[in-house]
């Protein structure tokens, strides 16, 4: 697949040759059923849907579409498994989770390729970020399973029961790990619904569970669209809802569970400010801005989608940023040199286009490096908007794509006011060499994760989650256990 050469020097002798990762490490079956009670089965009504590679629009497999009856069966299976699973000594549950972590490590090349195929993300990211974090997450929570008494939630904290978990398409297997690892460690059983456009890695995970010898019914995977997720969330047989996705759906879920006993955690949208002061190390800041917004095609709820730059260094910073953006390589997700892969779906591409067009229509100035995009598949060039005001849609709405809105500020107070001027509150970035200013800013930013002189760092030991309309509850760390314990 094509990669842009440096447009300032088309004859660049250092142009990379294609370096594709081999697809042959993963064998995708022509069709997959639902994983319920330890077995794969077709949907009761036989409904299926296709999952495609967003880079080529090629159909990868046909997957069962779970309806109400299937969801019910999965919840019953999880309920049946709950008694034994929750009664297991924590040390035994821990060993299952350690096994899963190890098997994920062993199969990480296969799973990384699969993830890049189904999702469109660069193999460099699925290989170096997603998969290592998946294994680390299981390894981390495995160790908690027999130490719950010491987690700060009282002696002998009890699991909730059956967790209904609905995850997004941006980090399919990683979000699965964030959901399943703490749930199982705490003694719950789960019914998980992966996103409609990225069901495959969850179905491969079912095979990991098989290899780990996990008792049947402890993990159930029901594939489908939003209607399947809605069935799961509304099912009276679940005790816990965990959702990662859009704020709009998050609100619908909060309404659905109103008046029930179901415990809920929601990880929703964001519109993070990445704030660069005049004393920041420019080159590091540029790298942070780029990874903040272009990592995973900008399909990141905590993406640094609003760049707040101190007015005095705006020109210098934007020059450096544009220079860096010209070197970003957009193309084949399986090419090891690719920086930006495919947009996950035609629907998401349309949304990004609509918002980018709105940015232009509202008067912001659009810039993107010259960049040859593949002819098939879903692609969007890394894009920068300057002259953005706080009222613009591109400064207010989550674009969930490789689109950066640049605003300016003069004083730290103004930076805080602008950063907090959003209904979201998931993450924020601060770039400055002054330590006291970092801490002053960090204490005033209404966001659940603050990256200072870095961005988009994740770790299973580090709690993640939002303020305000970015949702509630935390995933990761000791805090992440609370979501799955009856406390």
């Amino acid at each position: 697949m094509t990669n842009p050469t440096n447009p300032t020097n088309p004859a660049n002798p250092f142009e990379y040759a294609p370096a594709p990762e081999s697809r042959s490490v993963v064998e995708i079956a022509p069709s997959y059923g639902l994983f319920i009670d330890g077995e794969f089965a077709e949907a009761a009504d036989g409904k299926v849907f296709k999952t495609v590679s967003p880079a080529t629009e090629e159909s990868l497999s046909e997957v069962a579409h779970a309806g109400a009856e299937d969801v019910d069966r999965a919840v019953r299976a999880a309920r049946k498994a709950f008694g034994k699973w929750s009664a297991l000594p924590g040390a035994e549950r821990a060993k299952y989770l350690f096994r899963i972590a190890r098997i994920v490590q062993e199969r990480s090349r296969e799973l990384a390729v699969l993830e890049s195929l189904d999702n469109g993300k660069p193999i460099r990211e699925s290989r170096d970020v997603d998969l290592p974090l998946v294994a680390a997450h299981f390894f981390y929570y495995a160790g908690w399973a027999d130490k719950l008494d010491y987690a700060g939630y009282g002696r002998d904290p009890r699991p909730l029961g059956v967790a209904g978990q609905v995850i997004p398409w941006n980090f399919p297997l990683l979000m699965l790990a964030w959901k399943i690892a703490p749930a199982l460690a705490a003694g719950n059983t789960v019914v998980l619904k992966p996103a409609e456009t990225t069901p495959l890695s969850a179905l491969f995970f079912a095979d990991v569970c098989r290899q780990a010898g996990l008792p049947r019914g402890v993990v159930n995977i029901v594939t489908g669209d939003g209607s399947t997720g809605a069935e799961l969330v509304a099912h009276p047989g679940i005790d816990k809802v965990a959702f990662t996705g859009s704020t709009e759906v998050g609100k619908a879920i909060a309404r659905t569970v109103a008046g029930t006993e179901k415990k809920v955690t929601l990880e929703l949208g964001g519109k993070a400010a990445n704030i660069v002061f005049d004393d920041a190390p420019i080159d590091q800041a540029v790298e942070g801005i780029v990874s903040g917004i272009f990592f995973n095609q900008g399909h990141v709820c905590c993406a640094g989608s609003r760049l707040l730059v101190q007015e005095s260094i705006q020109d210098e910073l934007l020059d450096a940023l544009k220079r860096r953006m010209r070197t970003l390589r957009v193309g084949d997700p399986l090419d090891k040199n690719t920086d930006i892969g495919a947009i996950n779906s035609a629907e998401q591409l349309a949304r990004i286009r609509t918002l980018a067009d709105a940015g232009e229509a509202e008067g912001a100035e659009r810039w993107a490096p010259e960049c040859a995009l593949p002819s098939s598949g879903y692609w969007f060039a890394p894009t920068l908007f300057t002259g953005v005001t706080q009222a613009h849609r591109i400064a207010r709405e989550e674009i969930f794509g490789p689109v950066l809105s640049v605003l300016t500020f003069r004083t730290p107070q103004e930076a805080v006011a602008k950063a907090n001027n959003t209904p979201y509150g998931l993450s924020a970035g601060i770039w400055t060499e002054k330590g006291s200013r970092i801490l002053w800013m960090a204490s005033r930013l209404r966001a659940g994760v603050v990256w200072s002189n870095t961005f988009n760092k994740f770790d299973p030991a580090s709690p993640f989650g939002g303020y305000k309309e970015s949702g509630y509850g935390r995933e990761g760390g000791r805090h992440g256990l609370e979501a799955y314990l009856d406390v």
Binding site: A136, A461, P463
Partner: protein
Amino acid sequence: MSDDRTERLSVLKTYKLFVGGKFPRSESGRVYEVTDHKGSWLANAPLSSRKDARDAVVAARKAFGGWSGATAYNRGQILYRVAEMLEGRREQFAREVADAEGLGKSKAAAVVDAAVDRWVWYAGWSDKVAQIAGAANPVAGPYFNLSTPEPTGVVAVLAPQESSFLGLVSVIAPAIVTGNTTVVVASERAPLPALSLGEVLATSDLPGGVVNILSGRTAEIAAPLAAHQDVNAIDLAGADPELARTLEEAAADNLKRVVRPQPVDWSADPGTGRLLAFLETKTVWHPMGV
């Protein structure tokens, strides 16, 4: 007809709301009759309107920056000061609680004592909660990584209907000790201890607006609070199940944190549940290097 032995006519108190550190009447000009357990008239309490609720939210929001930014030591001392002020007015509150809840003298006094002690208990939490709810996280990389709890913001509190004073204190103190500000809806039938608490809070160095107290119909006041876009959380302790469901649905609109009503023995050890319910965990990363 007047007796020679003229008994002194007592001076009755006009019970008023407590909003932004001041004591306004309801902007609606409405009151409702409050009676004791036997049905005898006690007072006319303000019947708060949705406008009163909105004004109280404005006051609570205005107070949030200062209160959440105060040191934990300072907040702890102020909560302790509330206990001090209350201690000096134990008889008054015992009388009001006896009337409100139909308790005998000694039982009512015990309730008030427990309420005073509850302020003391929560006062001590101010500079400890971050140490039990925070964490230093050992991430796999060269990063400093620290999680600390921060107050959620403006919390709407529907005080328990039955426990008009101990229950009330038990829902206000845990919310404010961590830096939240509150709009409190008093027990509908027995609002007088709550309205009197406003007088204690006003003389305890508590900044105006940190606690705002409204009396009236719980359902009428709670609806605009649950739907308010500038309220961050709601404690439904005083809502019946049907009202709680409606309010939780409305609260979903800006994803308020919701504490559902559940049976609580207010005289028991309160634990940390309510203390932790209105906190957000903030995690700060910074690279290590030379």
